[in-house]
């Protein structure tokens, strides 16, 4: 296969992101930029989770822990240590990656439901820890001094910059997802997903591969967390570690199609679009989470491979394009 063909599957995802970035500029509405920010954030998080869930086959029910932890570390450096945004974001990503590395060594030997349960436990444990950690503001969290934004040309400019940065991070998440999928490392991960024992017997060093997949899936969420809470201006434990957000991420990945590059992107897009409608509708606004629960149930029952997985299976020629 030529190099060009190998990367055709990247075209569609990049087009989707580009469209999201241009949407607010074209329509000229600031509100659209907020919607686009939310969608891009979801795409970045879902694509990252997909490395673990889709390629490696490990269900993480607490993936938002990396977003929250990276957010807290970044926010602390921004507010208490007066770091500027770039190194703080990098530190948030690194902190999340390091956390994943340590967790991976400890809990990735668990399989199936046991691993999923452990990830929930970790999210709740970290939330409880931060709640009692005075350095990070305990239960009341931390607030950013408004003056911080002046370094970036004022709050409006900072918002604009955050939008560009979240788009860049989303792109990074997608490219990482694509590179992993088309690499030898990714082949090893998929072998682990299909049959971990057989993969090990064929020479796939599963413990290492799983740990690195976990680390890779944590870094971008950590950076996104740091960026989001910078933009948000304050951080609190229940905002940083919302368990329901982890479950929404699972719905996004599974809706679009786990184990594909495009699936989580479309899933995040569709889910956020639906959510935007639900939270503003009179009937659904209080029960929008139960809709995502029902959606997850329907996906698992009827299209376990997700939308992209279904299309790939039904229409063979699409396999080259929808990867």
């Amino acid at each position: 296969m030529s190099n060009w063909r190998r990367h055709t599957s990247l075209i569609l995802p990049v087009v989707v992101v580009a469209a999201l970035v241009l949407w607010p500029a074209v329509t000229g509405k600031a509100a659209n930029r907020e919607s686009a920010f939310t969608i891009l954030k979801a795409v970045a998080l879902a694509s990252s989770l997909n490395i673990l869930l889709g390629y490696t086959g490990y269900v993480s029910f607490g993936h938002i822990v990396f977003y929250g932890f990276g957010g807290y570390v970044g926010f602390y450096l921004l507010s208490a240590q007066s770091w500027s945004l770039w190194p703080a974001m990098a530190a948030g990503g690194l902190a999340a990656g390091l956390l994943a590395f340590l967790l991976g060594k400890a809990i990735l030997r668990l399989r199936g439901a046991y691993f999923a349960l452990a990830t929930i436990g970790i999210n709740e444990a970290l939330k409880a820890f931060i709640n009692n950690f005075e350095l990070f503001g305990g239960p009341t969290g931390m607030t950013l001094n408004f003056r911080v934004y002046q370094a970036y040309g004022g709050a409006a400019k900072a918002l604009e910059m955050s939008f560009i940065l979240v788009a860049a991070l989303t792109l990074v998440a997608i490219v990482v997802s694509h590179v992993v999928r088309t690499s030898k490392f990714g082949l090893g991960l998929q072998a682990i997903r299909e049959n971990e024992d057989a993969a090990e017997i064929m020479g796939v060093a599963a413990p290492n591969a799983k740990t690195w997949a976990y680390v890779l899936s944590a870094i971008v969420p950590g950076m996104v967390g740091a960026l989001f809470f910078f933009k948000n201006g304050n951080i609190e434990p229940h905002d940083a570690f919302p368990l329901h957000a982890s479950i929404e991420l699972l719905v996004m990945v599974m809706l679009g199609g786990q184990g594909t590059v495009l699936g989580p992107i479309l899933g995040a897009f569709a889910y956020q679009g639906m959510r935007g409608y639900l939270v503003t509708s009179d009937f659904f606004k209080d029960i929008q989470l139960s809709v995502s629960g029902v959606l997850l149930l329907l996906i698992v029952l009827f299209i376990p491979a997700g939308a992209i997985g279904l299309l790939r299976r039904r229409i063979t020629p699409l396999r080259g394009v929808l990867a």
Partner: protein
């Protein structure tokens, strides 16, 4: 010539069950060694002890002069030992080619993807899977899955191949084909340790045979010697038909 694989006093317990007791044998390079014995004799457990799935409680496993006792299976694989499973273990949602490429990528040579693809195509042609390269592995029938197991193991370009009942579940034509394939593999310089219940095949193929019963080696020798051993006949006594087959095959 020194042994490629040397099993020295290997024992393995599972709780109160003594699955292997003091198993010792050497496998010289470029031979086919047949491992036979009644069901539950510990043959597959011995494979697991050799390639690190269940490390032995006692004893040593030497492979190409290196002590590999207790190494995890993926490290044993990288040293050049490949294995097929009695119960096929295809990577269902991956294509046949991807399955074979996993073997090539993570086997002895640690190939990159491009080289692995070349090796995979070559191996699939050799075992007759080339026309099915782009199908999902889950869609193959049993005989094809058996070939896939073999292809994956061969793609690793191993020094030693552990075959766990590759003939089970195949019809007589398929068995004849597979026997030819196994012989060709040996002729290409790969040493083979095979567990087999299809007696006429194992008797024909093997240079040497080890008989296990209740986790112990009860007989060893050429196919002819083993077939005449009273102990072996006794081990198979519950199944007189098998004992008869053993006698007939020489």
């Amino acid at each position: 010539m020194t042994a490629l694989l040397s099993i020295q006093g290997v024992s393995r317990r599972f709780g109160g069950l003594q699955a292997l007791t003091d198993v010792t044998f050497d496998l010289p390079p470029n031979q086919i060694l047949g491992l036979i014995g009644p069901n539950g004799a510990g043959k597959t457990t011995l494979f697991n002890a050799i390639n690190g799935v269940f490390p032995p409680n006692e004893g040593r496993v030497m492979f190409r002069g290196k002590d590999i006792t207790g190494l995890p299976p993926y490290e044993v694989a990288r040293l050049g030992m490949a294995r097929t499973h009695q119960i096929v273990q295809p990577l269902n949602e991956l294509t046949v080619r991807d399955n074979v490429m996993v073997g090539a990528c993570f086997g002895r040579h640690n190939h990159g993807l491009a080289e692995a693809r070349r090796v995979a195509d070559e191996v699939m042609a050799r075992v007759g899977l080339a026309p099915r390269a782009d199908l999902l592995a889950g869609s193959l029938n049993v005989a094809q899955k058996k070939r896939l197991e073999l292809a994956r193991a061969l793609a690793a370009q191993p020094h030693l191949l552990l075959l766990d009942e590759v003939l089970a579940g195949l019809n007589p034509t398929e068995i004849a084909e597979m026997v030819q394939t196994v012989r060709k593999i040996r002729d290409q310089g790969i040493t083979i340790l095979m567990i087999e219940h299809v007696m006429h095949a194992v008797m024909n193929l093997s240079d040497f045979i080890i008989v296990l019963d209740f986790g112990q080696v009860i007989a060893r020798g050429t196919p002819k010697e083993v077939a005449e051993s009273p102990k072996v006949i006794e081990a198979y006594f519950g199944d007189p038909k098998l004992a008869e087959q053993l006698k007939l095959s020489d």
